[in-house]
């Protein structure tokens, strides 16, 4: 029987023979991840289990990135708990302060995740690494504690939805527009319990950062993972990070539950309107909606290519009066690269606030919280009610191009109109 990417990766990590979707299998995991919000709970569960040592100190990764730099005493206490656990367990990959970045931007950059691996993380956006061909998925803290202790977890072998993206991308249309379009098509539970596998000429041409953006939002359709084949581009990317990986493709006779086709030729820049990522509209349909804040950053779109897109639009221009533009490069290396390329100067000249790598405002943590009645356009991944602050605030989601263009005008704007 032909296997999908998900089935192939799961099969390589279990002794049981995978016969098809629905089967529950025990698998070995390659990497286990948690952050400053989820690790404290995982550590408590780990101790309650009676576990004394993590299964491998070089395979457990702890990144303090959500409420950091610590926003208050309670979050500082949480980070302290994680730091002490990391020290006691001699965990090799513990990241805090100037070494830390938004976890899902940081791990690929450090070469800690790659094709064919199973990565479990106590963070729903762990699915990002599917962009590199890793079966990566979010779990809760106690499942993560179990994986930390045993290096194993269980999965129900998922059905896979094949997403084919054909054609050629129009100007200012990005990976973010592709994934938002898809979520708009299938809905926020369209891939519930399932894997999304991406193929097609647009996907083959897409750079790794774009693939990471798409995989990142698989969870926004309810997906267990968003998977891409590991091709030459993937291998070149991971080689640059010091890894030697093998290519990985699904079998030709793989069985898919359904096929969704997207024609890129007809795709225009889109935004997801409040309060669900599935409320997707073309920018042209909602242009003119007034905004108070723009956030460019996060595990979805805080990478160097996103900052380059923003700079392309912002160069030599000023942010509209009354609009707060907050730009958070997702990792210290991205920050440095942006500095080297002169992007930060463009941002500062435009009147943006450039902040440290942090998840911060995306989840309403800090560094850009919204008051009642305020509206934000963000390159983040969720626009649930109250996600970025007041229950009476609103969040729209878009690419960095649209976010930057809108920051200049103070209303939702197509970048071609700048």
């Amino acid at each position: 029987m032909g296997k999908t990417l998900a089935e192939k990766i799961l099969q390589a990590h279990t002794q049981e023979e995978i016969t098809g979707p629905g089967q529950i299998v025990q698998v070995k995991v390659d990497k286990v991840l948690a952050n400053d919000i989820t690790a404290p709970l995982a550590i408590e569960s780990f101790k309650k289990m009676g576990a004394t040592r993590v299964f491998a100190k070089d395979r457990v990764i702890l990144v303090c990135d959500h409420f950091t730099p610590n926003k208050d005493i309670k979050s500082a206490e949480q980070v302290k708990k994680v730091r002490e656990f990391a020290a006691a367990q001699e965990i090799l990959h513990y990241y805090e302060g100037g070494e830390a970045g938004v976890e899902h931007a940081l791990l690929p950059e450090l070469g800690l995740v790659g094709p064919g691996e199973i990565v479990v993380g106590a963070d729903s956006h762990t699915c990002t690494y599917g962009g590199l061909g890793a079966f990566a998925t979010g779990l809760g803290s106690t499942d993560i504690a179990y994986a930390m202790a045993f290096g194993e977890t269980w999965f129900k072998v998922p059905e896979t939805i094949l997403v084919k993206v054909r054609g050629k991308l129009n100007p200012f249309v990005t990976a973010k527009d592709i994934i938002l379009k898809l979520i708009g098509l299938i809905g926020v539970d369209g891939a519930l319990y399932r894997v999304l596998e991406f193929q097609g000429e647009v996907i083959e041409l897409l750079d790794i950062e774009g693939r990471l953006t798409i995989a990142n939002m698989a969870i926004e359709a309810g997906g267990k993972a968003g998977l891409f084949a590991a091709d030459e581009k993937t291998l070149a990317y991971t080689r640059e990070k010091g890894r030697e990986d093998k290519p990985l493709f699904p079998d030709k006779e793989a069985r898919y539950e359904q096929v969704v086709e997207i024609d890129a030729n007809g795709l225009q820049p889109v935004v997801a309107c409040p309060h669900l990522p599935e409320n997707v509209k073309e920018v042209e349909e909602v242009k003119g909606i007034k905004i108070d804040q723009v956030v460019i950053g996060s595990c979805t779109n805080g990478r160097i290519s996103d900052l380059r897109q923003a700079a392309e639009v912002l160069r030599g221009k000023k942010v509209a009066k009354g609009v707060r533009l907050i730009i958070l490069p997702a990792t210290p290396n991205i920050f440095k690269q942006a500095l080297k390329e002169g992007l930060l100067e463009i941002f500062l000249e435009a009147g943006a606030v450039v902040g440290p790598p942090t998840c911060g405002p995306c989840l309403g943590g800090h560094m850009g919280i919204l008051a009642g009645g305020e509206r934000c356009l963000a390159t983040t991944n969720r626009n649930f009610k109250g996600r970025m602050g007041s229950l009476e605030s609103e969040v729209y989601l878009s690419s960095a191009y649209v976010a930057a263009a809108s920051a200049l005008t103070g209303v939702i704007t197509h970048p071609k109109d700048i």
């Binding site: 919000i37 408590e44 289990m49 009676g50 993380g121 963070d123 803290s141 309810g222 309403g364 943590g365």
Partner: protein, 165 residues
């Protein structure tokens, strides 16, 4: 086991930010989290809930973040059971691991109205809507998951494995 309580209905796609907004994630204490349960949906939601009451959701209940604080907040608020059309997968695993009973019933969920008196018999796999004299059948969980339930949750399951090793 038998659970009995009043139904509190919420809509489709109740996300974990609605169940427990991120600003409250600076603690892991269920009681503290419980005080803010569903405050991301409605400011004082939890004040209308009595201990033992049952939450009834629509499609994709618990979507969004992986925060285990979400099932903890529900348990901390004194709600032992959530019934829904469907659950988001990370939330489902979390609830299951935390000992929050989650019952996925599909379209049958429409039979339940706000304020209905529900009686749940886990042995028989049945939800009874007492005031309507209606019954909803619940499908059993897969065998491996039942093993975790029998062990008393994932922490106990792990404990037994560590002791056995």
């Amino acid at each position: 086991m038998i659970f009995q309580g009043k139904a509190h209905k919420v809509g489709d796609h109740i996300d974990t930010d609605a169940i427990i907004p991120a600003r409250f994630l600076v603690t892991t204490d269920p009681e503290e989290l419980g005080k803010h349960c569903l405050s991301g949906l409605e400011e004082n939601f939890i004040q209308k809930v009595a201990k033992g009451d049952i939450l009834v959701g629509g499609k994709n209940f618990g979507c969004g973040s992986s925060r285990e604080h979400a099932p903890l907040a529900i348990l901390g608020a004194g709600i032992p059971v959530v019934i829904a059309h469907s659950f988001a997968r990370i939330f489902y695993r979390n609830g299951f691991n935390m000992g929050l009973l989650l019952l996925e019933v599909g379209e049958e969920v429409e039979k339940i109205s706000e304020g209905d008196e529900l009686k749940i018999d886990t042995q028989r796999g049945e939800i009874e809507i007492v005031n309507k004299q209606l019954k909803i059948k619940v499908n059993p969980v897969p065998e491996f998951m039942q093993k975790i339930i029998n062990a008393g949750g994932l922490i106990n399951f792990a404990q037994a494995r560590i002791k056995g090793a």
